[in-house]
């Protein structure tokens, strides 16, 4: 059994956020971290590994320096790592990103008992689309918002957290699960033994040459050219002015509030 965990290296938004002239993020000038939801997905996979001894594979699409992040995931306990990286893949939006990741997983092989874990969403792009799109492109069932995942044989039981409660779902593998973080999710730290092994574990780079014969890889479906999303402008929204405070708990104050709301066509 193998679990692919899709991880994205994202800019550390607690630092400086830099934007290029064309409106895209200037990723090179920013510190990077592992997308927080993806760390949770990795922890979920490692807990299943602890229980079953399955193989956990970290997968990312990104520039070559993303290797550092993959090595840290190997030091946490992942068994092997795959970096999908090529000029042709640059500038991909969610559609193209999921296309390429799906192709890489097909190329590497997805068996009946395997699963793919993603974070729910990346803190930079923030769309929460890549996971579900990978599932669609691989024609796999998908379960989103997973908080607990249990695997028995070829069946997985997932607790989905919803706004007003939770839902338990049973599903046959192979399938794709997107994971959410909450207060109770504490991704484990690396260990020193893990660090010692990190640069000795299998590490694969999948470039365009390797993947080009995959049916999902077509030049008009990958990279900037294959991305239906165009960024016309990116900007920091202007701050809204401070609100108006009305004080008092009498009828006069509520009347005033009602008339102000009426004036603004709120009621």
């Amino acid at each position: 059994m193998r679990i692919y965990v899709c991880v994205k290296q994202v800019p550390d938004t607690s630092g400086v956020v830099a934007v290029n002239e064309d409106g895209t993020l200037n990723r090179a000038s920013m510190q990077t971290i592992i997308n927080p939801d993806d760390l949770v997905a990795m922890e979920q996979a490692l807990m299943i590994k602890d229980a079953t001894g399955c193989q956990v594979t970290a997968v990312t699409m990104g520039p070559p320096p993303a290797e550092g992040m993959l090595r840290e995931l190997l030091a946490m306990g992942a068994d092997d790592a795959i970096l999908i990286s090529a000029r042709e893949f640059g500038g991909s939006d969610t559609f193209a990103t999921s296309q390429i990741i799906a192709a890489a997983i097909t190329y590497t092989g997805l068996n009946d008992e395997d699963m793919i874990f993603c974070g729910r969403q990346a803190i930079d792009g923030d769309t929460a689309q890549v996971g579900p799109q990978i599932a669609e492109k691989l024609n796999l069932p998908q379960i989103s918002y997973a908080a607990e995942i249990k695997k028995e044989g070829n069946e997985v039981t997932v607790k989905r957290m919803l706004e007003d409660g939770y839902m338990m779902i049973k599903q046959q593998t192979p399938c794709l699960v997107t994971c959410i973080s909450d207060q109770d999710s504490h991704p484990r730290m690396m260990s020193i033994a893990g660090i010692n092994a990190a640069y000795k574990k299998p590490y694969t780079v999948l470039d365009f040459e390797t993947l080009k014969d995959e049916p999902l890889i077509e030049l008009d479906k990958i990279g900037l050219k294959g991305s239906p999303t165009n960024i016309f402008v990116s900007f920091t929204p202007p701050l809204k002015g401070i609100g108006v405070m009305l004080e008092g708990n009498d009828k006069k104050t509520t009347d005033k509030l009602a008339s102000m709301l009426l004036e603004k066509h709120v009621i």
């Binding site: 090595r71 690396m190 020193i192 010692n196």
Partner: protein, 381 residues
């Protein structure tokens, strides 16, 4: 000459920093207040492999050497000096057993110390034997009938002594011979005749317990002698020599953190209409603190490099410890000064760091003893 860390060392630094921030910092003030050894945090150090640094993997260790110890200890010291002291001192026991133990002793004791969750301790000091280790009064008498040594005496100021599972202790096997009559032994908690006296109430590193150990007809199998009979003084000096680089790392970490706190505070504190960071007097403090701390770091790294390369490092270990400890007191003092009255308050970490930093000038050889070592090495060249 290459000053860069390997990729693995850089990852270790990141892990140690994360551990210090997420696990050590949240309890640092509390254990200072309550004087309690953080049992859970020690267990977490074990789980992540910190307690096996410098010990071969075949004995349950996590490999690496002196530089790895320096990296981990100094990151810990940024957030909690007591925990940095605990790790640094714990490691003396497994390192000494690895260096001087028989294969049987290594098989038996190292896995317990590296990954088994047992704390290690190193007991040399006695009420009348501090800087002058030759003054040790604890005696070990051989009993031929049982092939055991019978140990009697008292040790004082032993870090972790009352919690340790495995201890390296020193006793006179030939009392008239002075330093040439001392032997080292491995003892275990719970051995009949081994009890604990008082736990000291200290100025700093209060989350590291300092205990009195009492040996009353403590019977230790002769096979637990570490190294040769009457060879204990050499073992003690070699062990302390290596341990000193760990103390320098403690001093390094607390100095680094003090600078970071001072820079941050100076940028935020406004007096006379501008942040005090805009005052040249404060800027020059920061420049002095940063320069001396960088110099101290490089001397410590150099001593660690000598140790890891198998070269003689006795003089450099003494130098780096003496210098880093003095620097820690200098830097923490100025950082507290930059904080003004707030720095003197219990609510700010500097007050604790100021008390904690002082120990680095005292244990594992005082500053004065280091000057003796250094001057001897330099003048006898």
């Amino acid at each position: 000459m290459d000053f860069s860390l390997t990729k693995e060392q850089a990852m270790l630094k990141k892990l140690a920093a994360q551990f210090a921030e997420e696990e050590l910092e949240p309890v640092a003030a509390e254990i200072d207040e309550t004087h309690e050894f953080p049992v859970e945090n020690f267990a977490k150090m074990v789980k992540l492999g910190f307690t096996g640094i410098g010990v071969k993997e075949e004995y349950g260790g996590t490999g690496g050497g002196m530089l790895e110890k320096v990296i981990a200890v100094s990151e810990f010291a940024k957030k909690c000096m007591a925990s940095a002291a605990t790790l640094s001192i714990h490691l003396i026991a497994p390192h000494t057993i690895q260096d001087f133990g028989t294969e049987e002793q290594k098989q038996k004791y190292l896995p317990r110390l590296t990954k088994g969750g047992e704390l290690g301790a190193f007991a040399l000091t006695e009420p009348n034997a501090g800087s002058d280790a030759a003054g040790v009064k604890t005696v070990a008498v051989y009993d031929e009938a049982t092939d055991e040594y019978v140990i009697n005496g008292t040790k004082c100021f032993i870090s972790g002594g009352a919690r340790a599972g495995v201890l390296v202790i020193f006793a006179m096997t030939e009392p008239k011979m002075g330093t040439r009559g001392m032997s080292a032994f491995i003892i275990e908690a719970g051995m009949p005749g081994f009890t604990y006296g008082k736990i000291e109430n200290k100025m700093g590193i209060r989350g590291s317990e300092t205990a009195e150990l009492v040996f009353e007809d403590l019977r230790v199998p002769a096979s637990n002698m570490l190294g040769k009979k009457n060879g204990g003084f050499k073992i003690a000096m070699k062990a302390l020599n290596a341990a000193r680089i760990g103390v320098a790392a403690q001093a390094q970490g607390v100095a680094d953190e003090a600078i970071a706190l001072a820079v941050q505070y100076a940028g935020e504190r406004v007096q006379f209409g501008k942040p005090i960071a805009a005052l040249q007097g404060i800027q020059w403090y920061i420049a002095d603190m940063a320069t001396k701390t960088e110099a101290a770091r490089n001397l410590t790294y150099y001593a660690a490099w000598l140790a890891d390369s198998g070269k003689d490092f006795m003089c450099e270990a003494a130098m780096c410890k003496y210098n880093a400890a003095e620097n820690a007191r200098f830097v923490v003092n100025l950082a507290l000064q930059i904080h003004g009255g707030y720095g003197y308050m219990h609510d700010y970490p500097l007050e604790r760091m100021y008390r904690d930093a002082k120990i680095t000038e005292i244990y594992e050889g005082t500053a004065e003893v280091h000057k003796v070592v250094i001057s001897r090495a330099v003048m006898n060249k």
